[in-house]
Amino acid sequence: MSDVSEVLKVVFVGLNSPGYQSLALGYLRSYAQADRRLAGRVAFQTLDLTVDVDPWWVAYRVLALEPDVIGIPLTCWNARNAYDLCRVVKAARPATRIVMGGPEAGPVAAELLAAHPEVDIVVRGEGEVTFAELLYALTRGRAVHHVEGITTRDDAGAVVSAPDRPLIADLDSIPSPYLNGVMVPSNGAAYIETYRGCPHHCGYCFEGKGYPRVRSFSEARIAAEIDTVAHTSGVTSFSFIDAVFNLTDDRLAFLAGCLAPYAAQGMRLHTVEVDIERIDDAQAALLASAGVASVETGPQTVGAQALATCQRRFDRDRFTRGVEALKRADIAVECDLIVGLPGDTVQDFFDGLEFCLDLDPGIVQTSTLHVLPGTDLWKRAEELGLRYDPEPSHEIIATDTIGYNDLRRAEVRSIYLQRIYKARL
């Protein structure tokens, strides 16, 4: 055993948006708990909290558990609170090893460690195997900087990175946190992941996390998770975290087949993300039979230059046909737009808003660009003239085509237009 207590106490801390559960923590814990090498040597606890809780009170709860290791998935939304939390925990209990992972940590691992002395270790990329290997090294008292996928400090305090870890070839090797009871689905907050990766490579998005290809869980695993979540008492709605729910016709048909019996009993799916331009009446009917009440989609922008820069396709007619098909199937569509994409003018943004409002999709949601670590826009920010806040949540400050003040004006005006749009019977 290492220099920590006899049983390594690991606390997973989720700082989620209200109404969400952390599937990432469920996976991390499920995989590590199933590792026989850690049995009897590591004890796990999870604090699945929300980002609106004061970090000092989160620290109070964390420290009450006297952890040897805490693991925190970092996103642009929770990073500031997470850093506050870790600073307090480290000061109060210096021996606690603080491990971070997730989209806000992995792509900037070395920079993060340089800027945040309270953080000990960053897990880069897919975390399940790496985190379990890290715990194994800790229980054996071994140096952790050799663990693939880890960035940490060596004995001299220098930031060092081990090589990347290969992607998990068989996603079913990650035990389902729903099937093993690590996560209890809660109504409206439970998410199922059926595959990792994204067929699109939009420049602003990290949903695909740089994975070169789509990898799927097995159909048997997916069906079992749906069955478990849908049979959980009190759960009448849940969702899918997949980047594209209608990835292929066959896959959509399979999912609809799994979900239809529960939809017939009233189960509903909310805001699944779809490729709207592939949706016709047949796909809309499948979505309706699956209990899909609302979907989320782009276009994000209609500006030709921004579309090209962000590697997005947009066909106005196909998009319109997709929305109309979903409306005929009584499925609400959330059309998303981003202001501040490279090349877009304010007029491009409002042209997009006008296009979406004219479709009367049900929901129109606008947001300001966040230049997220690891994305193509983040890598090319200087070349593209994007000035953004280097601190999370990395909101755009100005572009070559929209100044700071006009970005703020676009935000305020779009909020007004959305209020008018929502004011209906």
Binding site: A410, V412, R413, Y416, I420, Y421, K422, A423, R424, L425
Partner: protein
């Protein structure tokens, strides 16, 4: 979804009494208004419609409930009406209109408070009542659990120009979503431009969108986005 406008009458709208004499309101009979609605809807592409009762203060129309019911039956999902705002404080008008299906209230306001308003309205309580009406409308919508949008029109003249930023702030404080500064009758000057810019910036700080109706030259290039464009419903 552009709002289709249907006139219910004429006159009666608040104007600065120092600039011109107020004109009494007159209302068209309900069958006439219904014929207008039919014509407007016949030209509209398909439901759902956005429809705004305009002209005179809609709350003064004796058959307003029937007119609202008529357009709702016709497929309008966004029904709005123009009012002086004071009518929203009377006899449960705000809650009643929301119950009937109205989701947009476009009020008019000349001043930020009764002190400034007395001179412009020619009565002491008009501005305060209009702001109170908005607050009651917002509260009624919250009680009913529905989304309602309140917008405001501020006719700008030489007599309220210096106070227009404060008027925007007062409207923002009671929950207005957008303020339209009607500066069409305002002679262009550097001072007028500065006051309008200050009003736009006040709206930005307070989170309410301000647009200016009038000559595009009324605002400097830095504020061109605030020039009123095509209004969306």
């Amino acid at each position: 979804m552009r709002a289709l406008s249907v006139v219910v009458g004429a006159g009666g709208r608040d104007t600065c009494v120092l600039c011109r004499k107020a004109v009494s309101a007159s209302y068209d009979p309900a069958p006439v208004v219904m014929q207008r609605i039919d014509r407007v809807l016949a030209d509209a592409p398909h439901p759902p419609f956005s429809l705004l009762f305009s002209g005179a203060d809609a709350f003064g129309h004796p058959d307003l409930p029937a007119l609202i019911a008529y357009v709702v039956r016709g497929g309008a999902t966004r029904v709005g009406l123009e009012t002086d705002g004071r009518a929203l404080t009377v006899g449960g008008n705000a809650g009643g209109a929301i119950h009937a299906g109205v989701r947009r209230f476009d009020i008019s306001l000349l001043a930020a408070d009764d002190v400034a308003g007395e001179r412009l309205y020619g009565r002491a309580d008009a501005a305060g009542l209009a702001l109170q009406g908005v607050a009651e409308c917002v509260a009624a919508a919250e009680r009913a659990g529905v989304n309602v949008a309140v917008t405001a029109a501020v006719p700008v003249c030489a007599h309220n120009l210096d106070d227009v930023a404060r008027t925007v702030a007062a409207l923002a404080a009671v929950g207005v979503a957008c303020v339209r500064l009607d500066a069409r009758d305002l002679p262009f000057s550097a001072h007028a431009s500065a006051c309008l810019v200050a009003a736009c910036d006040t709206g930005m700080v307070d989170g309410v969108w301000v647009e200016v109706l009038g000559s595009p030259e009324a605002l400097p290039p830095s504020h061109v986005l605030h020039v009123a464009g095509e209004e969306r419903e």
